[in-house]
């Protein structure tokens, strides 16, 4: 994915220290070769220090590594230097690597000619490279020319990606956009004196004109067209250029990054790009359709791989600390309150959320605060998936061949690729999911937010190390795979969710579970029931589910389904709450329903 050459190391990599500089905290992990395999052994964390008084990201890195030193007894730091390579079994590390999303990540503006064609392709290219897209400008976006120019002037992106037109097509629209950008004289977010990097990945015939118009005013890089013909996207060259410019220009301007780049033994990757590498690898290795999510303090990244097609989106203002107040603003109070199993007055809740926004590093200290954060997380996850579904689509605007049998099927071009019935695995990462005190809390947050249909497996990043392993995989595939399999991926279990609705207590489906030891569990799942059946991570079971006639498990209404299911640290979750999931509208009935469900799966201490 990254265009950089893998780092060349002269010595074997036996001890690796990796950090992820997040918007809130910098997380460090130590990976050591134990016998023939690599294991993650220690972890440290410290507040990220892009802010005053430190204004140097490496300070947080050194603090997080100092925690590892204290816990492991290994001497890693020599003053402000990381000792590489290892000097003896207890001194130094062989390589230091890092990812970063601190300082607001990579913020990009993209342009295209037709909004839902080249505009969206450009957006996908930027998102895939780990960027936050702050605006999409297109010739047909409905804004008047002077409004476009004003918009370019006021936004201060780190980089612009220009696309538009197919190769050999008309050049006038893309040249017109170049003229607007030149007239706006865009300035970068950091550094008043350096030129704004601009990647041009549109109609190759327009390159000479674009060069003439923007060559002087921007740090222009020309690359292949991201949409050479209407029917095909070619995103990789533009993504690679974005990565290169991110390292060469943008990161050099952020506080302390020059030092960080010097410290690291491999190129710094944007956090979402590193997580994307991991998600793609899981899907490819196991031939799965998956949805992955990384819910952070400032943003929520969603990744999906369906039928081998990788997509990534970032919801820039949905997160659990800096952006928590925006989750409230976007979801609305009622949507957050519907997951809270007690009564709290609106003013108190709103003040608490704002206080978390202004003091983003605090953690819930009481059970009710934890439940409120989990409620907000459900909504952030839900909204980010809606956003993802709208962008992870087939190419729009292309002709489809139709036969006579398609006449009655009103299928549009560009429909979403996300099919919850075909989804095999959900992978969760990020503080609120990785650090939930009970794993069942992570599982239910994802089930409530995503409403998986039929049979879906769920997993979580054990202690939040996917970014670290993403960057590690670019230099040592085996080390990354070893740690991923043994220490990172925690399988939670499988969720079985019939599609349909019915009256609480009415029969939804009958099931027969046959365990490996030939033990059999027969039962009936009623509407409104949530049931947890223990099944350990290394075990499989066979389940036969016979839904009632209006209920579907993927094979059709009333059709029986037999599946082999995998366990996990939580087990099998039989979800009879119906799909789409509807919570009682009456406050007391809703609190009663939540209390029943939470208690049924042992979600919180008081409910267990």
């Amino acid at each position: 994915m990254a265009s950089q050459e893998p780092a060349q190391t002269a010595h074997p990599l036996n001890v690796i220290v990796a950090t992820d500089c997040g918007s809130t905290t910098t997380k460090a992990i130590l990976i050591e070769k134990v016998g023939d395999e690599y294991r993650q052994t220690y972890r440290g964390e410290a507040p990220t220090t892009v802010e005053a008084p430190f204004e140097d990201v490496t300070r947080g890195v050194l603090n997080a590594i100092a925690e590892i030193e204290e816990l492991s007894g290994r001497k890693i730091l020599d003053g402000d230097q990381i000792m590489t390579p290892c000097r003896d079994p207890k001194t130094g590390v062989d390589i230091y690597i890092s990812t970063s999303s601190a300082g607001g990540g990579l913020q990009m503006m993209v342009t295209g000619v037709v909004q839902n064609m080249t505009g969206e392709s450009a957006q996908r290219a930027a998102l895939g490279a780990g960027a936050i897209v702050i605006d999409v400008l297109a010739s047909n976006d409905g804004r008047l020319p002077h409004e476009k120019i004003e918009r370019i002037r006021t936004m201060r992106p780190d980089m612009i990606l220009m696309s538009g037109g197919t190769d050999g097509g008309a050049v006038s629209h893309v040249v017109e956009m170049a003229e607007y950008i030149a007239a706006a004289e865009p300035r970068p977010r950091f550094g008043a004196t350096y030129k704004l990097p601009l990647v041009y990945a549109g109609n190759t015939d327009a390159q000479p004109q674009v060069k003439k118009i923007l060559g002087e005013k921007t740090a222009l890089v020309l690359t292949e067209n991201i949409r050479p013909v209407l029917e095909r996207e070619n995103l990789a060259p533009a993504r690679n250029k974005i990565h290169d410019l991110f390292l060469e220009h943008v990161m050099q301007q952020a506080p302390g990054y020059k030092k960080l780049i010097e410290m690291a033994g491999a190129p710094i990757m944007p956090t979402p790009a590193a997580v994307g590498v991991i998600m793609e690898t899981i899907a490819k290795r196991e031939h799965l359709n998956l949805i992955g999510v990384d819910i952070g303090g400032a943003t929520t990244d969603v990744f999906s791989v369906f039928e081998g097609l990788f997509n990534r989106t970032v919801s820039a203002n949905l997160g659990m600390s800096y952006s928590i107040s925006n989750v409230l603003a976007e979801a609305g109070l009622a949507n957050i309150m519907r997951w809270v199993p007690f009564t709290i007055d609106e003013q108190t809740l709103r003040n608490r959320i704002k206080n978390k926004m202004i003091r983003p590093t605090t953690i819930p200290q009481t059970l009710d605060e934890l439940q409120i954060e989990h409620a907000i997380a459900r909504e952030a996850l839900r909204l980010a998936l809606i956003h993802h579904k709208s962008l992870a689509t087939a190419l729009k605007g292309i002709q489809q061949e139709r036969t006579i049998s398609d006449v009655f099927e009103q299928q549009q071009s560009g429909k979403t690729l996300i099919d919850m019935l075909k989804l095999d695995l959900i992978v969760g990462s990020g503080g609120i999911l990785s650090h939930a005190p009970r794993r069942v809390q992570s599982m239910l947050m994802m089930v409530d937010a995503y409403e998986p249909l039929g049979v879906t497996r769920l997993s979580v990043d054990s202690i939040f190390m996917m970014p670290h392993l993403g960057v590690l995989s670019t230099i040592d595939e085996k080390a990354a795979t070893d740690v991923f399999v043994r220490d990172c991926m925690v399988y939670l279990g499988t969720c079985i969710a019939p599609i349909g609705q019915g009256k609480d207590g009415d029969r939804c489906a009958d099931y027969v579970i046959t365990f490996a030891d030939e033990r059999v569990d027969k039962g009936t799942l009623a509407f409104g029931d949530l049931r947890l059946v223990p099944l350990a991570g290394d075990q499989k079971a066979s389940i036969v589910i016979q839904p009632v006639k209006q209920v579907n498990l993927g094979a059709g209404a009333g059709v029986s389904v037999t599946r082999e299911v995998q366990g996990g640290v939580v087990g099998l979750l039989l979800d009879g709450r119906g799909r789409p999931l509807q919570l009682p509208t009456d406050h007391n009935a809703r609190v009663a329903a939540l209390t029943k469900w939470y208690s049924a799966v042992g979600l919180y201490p008081t409910a267990s």
Binding site: E179, A183, R187, Q209, Q347, T361, P364, Q365, H435
Partner: protein, 377 residues
């Protein structure tokens, strides 16, 4: 483990601050190193390029883009007045003539024979950058700005709205736990920085705007009152450009929270003195906190070479801390002990904690990440 704590907000009687004053685009610097500047004095100036108006001449004249040069009356770089003719065709029959007039007064910036477009630009607007604090210029960044140094008392707030302003400090309440109400706000507070106690209601804010105060500094506010003041909900804490008629700075947070004694006492000692304040807050991507800077009088400042940079060595027993998360949100105490091992808290999370002792002798165990050092001496 000295590393896991949240750096606190500075409240200090004497410090030296340096404020980097940068133009948003290159211009000229109006002062020199060593010069003494006032807060309201322009230190640099730039010309903001005027707005651009695109005009598709090819379409309006009904000609091909590469032909428009033949019809243009004005050339690139020519000044134009509003309604002046930019281009015209020359038909054989006079009444078929089309004239394209300039929609603005400005200059012809560019003409494109690919798109048939002409870009017109309005005259530049002059941008003046003020000194913001009374102080001395210690650095000049050519064409970009300056660094002003001032010896002052400094209070950092936790959150604010509204931009830079200045005014005389006036204490409107008698104690830090008293709420600021409309009756505290009198006509003679116009143009001043009003310091309240624990809380400001929407009524009191409306009265403050009516009086025309420059700024309000307060312990807390309800989220709903802030929304009422702004007319929208703040999603991400990046502020400073709001135009609500005053600058508002919270020292403690959201809710009704008494202002820390130390903060209130400092303000009280400087009642009647001029202060520079800024509500600009940016919690993500390089923290900026709102601030109140009270410059020392010139004779008290003395000669000083370097700005003092507070050295933070981590947290120690006896340090004053503020609890920044419920259930004890806003309480102030001192560090009683710093256990090294992780402890289980009621959420079942294993976290690093500290024991905090309060003025009444009671103690509480608090996650380290939920406290904030009260910094400055």
């Amino acid at each position: 483990m000295p590393h896991s704590y949240t750096p606190g907000l500075t409240v200090t009687e004497q410090t030296t601050v340096r404020r980097r004053r940068m133009l948003s685009l290159p211009g000229s610097v109006l002062v020199t190193i060593g010069e003494t500047v006032r807060a309201d004095q322009a230190v640099a100036r730039a010309e903001l390029p005027g707005k651009v108006y695109p005009l598709n001449l090819a379409n309006q004249l009904g000609v091909a883009p590469d032909e428009i040069h033949e019809y243009l009356i004005k050339k690139v770089g020519d000044p134009v007045r509003k309604d002046e003719i930019l281009a015209e065709n020359k038909p054989l029959i006079k009444w078929l003539k089309t004239e394209v007039r300039s929609p603005i007064t400005g200059v012809v910036e560019s003409v494109s024979s690919v798109t048939g477009q002409v870009l017109l630009r309005e005259p530049p607007r002059l941008l003046e950058l003020l000194g913001y604090v009374d102080g001395r210029i210690v650095e000049v960044i050519p064409q970009q700005g300056v660094v002003v140094e001032a010896t002052c008392s400094l209070v950092q707030g936790i959150f604010g709205i509204g931009g830079e302003t200045r005014g005389e400090i006036v204490i409107a309440v008698t104690s830090p736990d008293e709420a600021l109400t409309p009756r505290h706000l009198t006509a003679d507070m116009k143009g001043k920085v009003v310091v309240g106690g624990s809380f400001v209601s929407s009524d009191a804010l409306a009265r403050a705007k009516e009086v025309g105060v420059a700024g309000v500094v307060i312990g807390g506010i309800h989220d709903k009152d802030l929304r009422a003041l702004l007319g929208y909900d703040i999603g991400v804490a990046i502020t400073g450009t709001e135009q609500v008629g005053l600058t508002l700075i919270l020292t403690e947070g959201f809710g009704s929270i008494p202002m820390a004694d130390k903060t209130f006492t400092l303000f009280s000692a400087h009642a009647g003195q001029p202060a520079s304040i800024s509500g600009a807050t940016q919690i993500r991507a390089g923290v900026i906190r709102p601030e109140i800077i009270i410059p020392k009088q010139a004779d008290a400042a003395g000669d000083h070479g370097m700005a003092t940079v507070p050295q933070r060595e981590g947290i120690r027993i006896g340090d004053q801390v503020r609890i920044i998360r419920d259930p004890l949100f806003g309480k102030i105490g001192e560090v009683a002990s710093l256990p090294a091992d992780l402890q289980k808290i009621p959420t079942e999370s294993d976290v690093r904690v500290m024991e905090v002792r309060f003025a009444d002798g009671s103690r509480a165990v608090i996650p380290r990440t939920n406290i904030e050092l009260i910094e400055g001496s």
